[in-house]
Symmetry: C2
């Protein structure tokens, strides 16, 4: 049967493929904490309150998948730091998409919440927008998935409209 959990790494869909790497609730929160600036096992442990063995397994997987790299801690020879790789940092769009969706409907209007702001000027962030490569803004009904068979051999710009 296609699509079984263990098969995700080989599916032809980018969404399934990325979920195979980071599609775990804890993994995404670990990555969020890394963007906030946490680097040490103990810091992730205190922030997330998950069992040490689960945290250890998740961090190991994220290192294996090239999301984190491990560096020695110059201040503490018995410790080390988990740092996002360039590949890991590219997840900031995923993190921000989740953040904006959560901010826009998972809180009561007057409920207190964390907020993401521009580090340089302290400005709020604009909502993420999906655009075609010619700049047109696209809504949730304006895109479709095409199979490798459908676009193979075609220049993309020449795919026929539906």
């Amino acid at each position: 049967m296609k699509g079984k959990r263990t098969d995700l790494g080989t599916t032809q869909c980018g969404i399934a493929r990325s979920l195979g790497v980071i599609g775990d609730w804890w993994s995404l929160l670990i990555i969020r904490d890394a963007f906030i600036g946490l680097e040490h096992f103990g810091e992730f442990h205190r922030s997330l309150g998950l069992a040490r063995n689960i945290l250890s397994t998740r961090l190991k997987k994220l290192v294996e998948h090239g999301i984190f790299r491990i560096e020695p801690d110059e201040d503490n020879a018995s410790s080390h730091r988990y740092l996002l790789t360039e590949r890991g940092k590219e997840l900031y769009i995923v993190i921000m998409a989740l953040c904006q969706w959560g901010e826009n409907g998972c809180f009561a209007p007057d409920e207190k919440r964390y907020l993401m702001i521009d580090r340089k000027l302290g400005r709020p962030l604009a909502p993420l927008e999906l655009r075609a490569d010619d700049g047109r803004i696209l809504g949730p009904d304006d895109f479709r998935h095409v199979s490798p068979q459908e676009w193979e051999g075609l220049e993309l710009g020449r795919l026929e409209p539906e």
Copy 2:
């Protein structure tokens, strides 16, 4: 301890809050399939190959959280359709962020893959960009999380730069 799995709905972070609703690998694939056009239990079941009881539990949760609504199936009185609500459709940015990240590094260069295209003109999609509200493009090191205590009572535009 803060941050325990069961506490997520009450955390002050939009990321954690949204993961509490959709931060499940299967849930995100069900939502992906709905964007592709699947509507029936049997279609999701065939596409994902997950156990019927797990699919049923996930769909029920997604309905409870307002991501899907259930409509009668006019073609088959014994069946019904799962349709994304407006709130569910707003997840398209999350789905596309996952898709683009997966497309850009989870495949070998010559590996076949599904691709998202603009439905109207068949154009490829542009990479999602994060911007501040004044239009500046922001990279992965250009934002930070501020706590409710930090921004409470401040007009956002007047938050001090770090």
